[in-house]
Amino acid sequence: MDVLYFAWVRERIGLPKERIETSATTVSDLVAELRAREERYDAAFADLTALRVAVDQELTDFDAPLAGAREVAFFPPMTGG
């Protein structure tokens, strides 16, 4: 699946998007997998209360299932308007 990062999450991880082969069944599982990869991921995901997640472009929460998901995005709380 494609994993996207925005704003300071993108800067901390160092890339806007990557393709990941994963067997994670929930967003939390995917986060755990990413954190185990490298320090920069671990740092970016250290405080999940500071993050929001969208699965296939719909806002959801970290318990959300990933079955059939094509795109997961992580970003800070939005500041539009």
Binding site: A7, F75, M78, G80, G81
Partner: protein
């Protein structure tokens, strides 16, 4: 549902004129413009967004407003990219038979797109420092009004 996410500036006067024209059935039009406020030594405001999700989220918010306040029409324009103080970031317009619905719907649209549309603002200061704008609790709390 007219929603536009664009890097180019928009002509606020022309958009308002077009939106308010030819509406014998709508007695009220409300328009709102958001402007980059030049706080402190802000040199530029950068706006990042999530292409695809942004259009979808704005469309859903606009559709929700249209149904809830029986609007005749809604318009949302939101820019992204590098803006300078004084530039218009975004606008919303609502058309309804009576003014209260038009005002409330515009207020609702602003509250929702501040916290539920995937935009992120970064401030670039004149001394070259930069910082992401943190979301405000009051903006999130504002959603509970609706």
């Amino acid at each position: 549902m007219p929603v536009s996410v664009q890097d180019a500036p928009f002509d606020y006067g022309a958009e308002c004129e077009r939106f308010a024209s030819g509406r014998a059935d709508m007695g009220a039009v409300v328009t709102f413009a958001g402007i980059v406020r030049g706080d402190g030594d802000l040199a530029r405001m950068e706006i990042e967004h999530y292409p695809g999700m942004t259009e979808k989220a704005l469309g859903e918010i606009a559709e929700k407003a249209r149904r809830r306040w029986s609007l005749g029409d809604v318009l949302v324009i939101h820019r992204y990219g590098m803006l300078t103080p004084g530039e218009r970031i975004m606008m919303v317009a609502t058309a309804a038979p009576h003014r209260r619905n038009a005002f409330e719907a515009a207020d609702f649209l602003m509250d929702y797109l501040k916290s539920r549309a995937p935009f992120w603002k970064k401030e670039h200061m004149a001394d070259r420092g930069e910082a992401w704008v943190a979301a405000k609790d009051e903006d999130e709390d504002a959603l509970s009004r609706w």
